[in-house]
Amino acid sequence: MTINYTRISALIFLLLFLVYSYLAGEIEVFVFDEDADFNARTFPKFISYLGIVVSFLTLVLSKNENEKLGQYEWLKVFVLFVLVFTYGIIIKSVGFFLSTNLFLLVSYYYLGVRSYKTLLLCSFPVVAGLQFMLHGLLDVYIRDPFLQFLGVIS
């Protein structure tokens, strides 16, 4: 049996379902429900048993596939992931308008856009338009300290 990415992933799933199975047994149920035909533990247990069987079968039966993971743009995707994560961190403190524009500008720039006109046209009008639609038309309130500071929204 050779090691390949599918087998590694199947092993991870197998471990995951084993842990899930253990946790399913640990779910606290009401005393009167302990011996019931069906309680909060029953369904997760079924899933975990089936999950263990299918991931074990995948681990044993999978064939070698053409898996060349090195040819992809891992770094770029990871940077984008970090940007999304950072966007999530600053959205509450900085506000929707500024954080979204920052996210878009940095992402465009990182992906190779250098024209200032494009950078500005594809960020500020898009975000402003969406925010106007949400605030002005759909009455959806988004907390935005920056725009409040500028007096644009109350």
């Binding site: 379902f17 909060a40 369904f43 997760p44 299918v54 993971l69 966007y87 959205i91």
Partner: protein, 502 residues
């Protein structure tokens, strides 16, 4: 029924809902055209927008997005041989050669007429079939529903797996496991929240769909260095050529439309199948019944070869609404997303839907006619302009898709945790997709998880904890036999594949 249809017509033809259909078709066409972004991503992106709407308008909009996306996918298949949607891959077999021969306009017109005919004929079938099936399904009990949902999960795993059934089954189980996070519907006990308050309410369905489809598609575009060499001048009126069809060409199309719309509808009704399988089957079917001379034309710009998949994929889209609206069980990944959206509106699709909410049930069906007309009348003449969207470079497109995905989820909860969680799920699903783990079974498992648990619980309580309902009720028994057959078929196919490789 007549009264229901009249209510549906009244609802669907209200000015507001006509605008919804038009917006849906238009947005769907644009998003479906973009390589990588399919109807599931398109509908996922629409969900946050529809939260303020009434359920009928929201469903009308999403249905419009669905067939708009399929139509948009055909456009990119024909023009640049880069299908935006899996269901339109087979349209590129003959559509792209036609475009290369300077008949892009004609190919787009054939695709539009075929889609219109397929969608309209299938909507007629839906009009007749849906109430009949809903009436039959009124006799379904919890045990039968449980069995039916298991058939749905198994068949989507079988169809979406591309030969890797076990991987699809892992995804199904994973989806079911994710559905158990949060409060148990009966006892209110919270499960698998790990002390995190953000998980106590369970994982948001919109978050999961956005992360696994829209966001991970955006990552995938960068990840696989996908780029399109396309400029706006490629869709100038001169380059597209005429969109007029001759009498002979129409005559050639008509019988194909008749056959493949029936085929497409039937495939669409089957759980797990859908536009992709319908379109491949239709192309293969037409090729197999063609004369030896015509057979040679297939793959080189045959009118029949383009008409067949285009008719079938739209008919299948309409067909997939039958199990969704009548049984409350989605037949495909896309309708699974719609089911999730309906549930979040507090609407429970099922056999009682057409009795209790006829305006929703019939309005969606009636709106399909309007949608097909919109696609034909509005989108066909606008294609040279809409297709310019293909010229958007990926370094602009990707951040915009990420932004819309994040905003869509954030606007529902206003919780930054959802953004972190979404980014992690998107990254994980990207890795899983690279390793050929299909995502639709995960979504279907997640959406059906709660319902399966509820029905299994009821079935077991009625039967004093015994699983005898599996063989005592004829409907359940028939469905479990189907499940066994699906599994056996997968084992047989696996063995044959192995034999061939040896």
């Amino acid at each position: 029924m007549i009264e229901g249809i009249l209510i549906g017509i009244d609802t669907a033809f209200s000015g507001y809902n006509i605008i919804m259909v038009m917006m849906g078709c238009f947005a769907g066409t644009i998003i479906g055209m973009l390589p990588g972004l399919g109807p599931m991503s398109a509908i996922a992106l629409m969900i946050p927008i529809t939260y303020g709407f009434d359920p009928a308008s929201a469903m009308i909009l999403m249905a419009g997005v669905y067939y708009g996306a399929i139509f948009g996918g055909s456009t990119s298949s024909i023009l640049i041989n880069a299908p935006g949607v899996a269901g339109t891959v087979s349209s590129s077999f003959d559509g792209y050669p036609m475009a290369k021969n300077g008949q892009a306009g004609k190919a787009l017109a054939i695709a539009a007429y075929a889609s219109f005919s397929g969608g309209t004929i299938a909507a007629l079938f839906l009009l007749v079939a849906a109430p009949q099936l809903a009436r039959v399904s009124l006799s379904f009990q919890s045990a039968d529903y449980f069995a039916l949902m298991c058939v749905g999960l198994l068949s989507i795993a079988a169809f979406a797996s591309k030969g890797q059934f076990l991987k699809a089954m892992i995804m199904t189980m994973f989806g079911l496991a994710l559905a158990t996070v949060g409060q148990d519907s009966l006892s209110d006990i919270t499960r698998f929240h790990f002390g995190n308050i953000n998980l106590m309410d369970g994982i948001s369905f919109v978050l999961l769909v956005m992360a696994t489809f829209a966001m991970s598609e955006a990552f995938m575009i960068i990840f696989k260095k996908m780029d399109i060499s396309f400029s706006a001048s490629d869709v100038s009126k001169e380059k597209l050529g005429s969109i007029k069809l001759s009498k002979e060409e129409v005559k050639e199309m008509v019988p194909v439309v008749g056959r493949t719309s029936v085929l497409g509808f039937l495939v669409g009704v089957l759980p797990g199948a859908g536009a992709t399988i319908a379109s491949f089957l239709a192309w293969g079917f037409e090729r197999s019944i063609a004369s030896a001379k015509e057979k040679l034309k297939f793959g080189k710009g045959s009118i029949k070869g383009l008409t067949a998949p285009e008719t079938a994929n739209n008919a299948a889209c309409t067909g997939s609404f039958v199990p969704l609206l009548t049984l409350g069980i989605p037949g495909s990944g896309t309708t699974a997303v719609m089911l999730g959206a309906l549930l979040s509106f507090g609407v429970q699709p099922g056999p009682r839907l057409y009795i209790e909410q006829p305006e929703l049930f019939w309005a969606v069906i009636v709106s399909m006619y309007i949608g097909n007309v919109v696609l034909l009348v509005l989108n066909l003449p606008l294609i040279p302009y809409i297709a310019r969207i293909l010229a958007i470079p990926k370094n602009i497109l990707v951040p915009l898709v990420l932004f819309f995905s994040v905003t869509g989820v954030y606007l529902i909860s206003f919780n930054a945790f959802d953004i972190y969680f979404m980014a992690i799920v998107a990254l994980l699903s990207l890795v899983l997709r690279i390793l050929n783990y299909p995502m639709p079974p995960l979504i279907l498992g997640f959406i059906l998880g709660g319902m399966i648990e509820k029905n299994l619980r009821r079935a077991l309580l009625i039967n004093d904890g015994s699983f005898s309902f599996m063989w005592e009720r004829p409907i359940s028994l028939a469905l479990f036999v189907i499940m066994i057959l699906i599994v056996l078929l997968q084992i047989y196919q696996g063995l044959r594949k192995e034999e061939k490789q040896n």
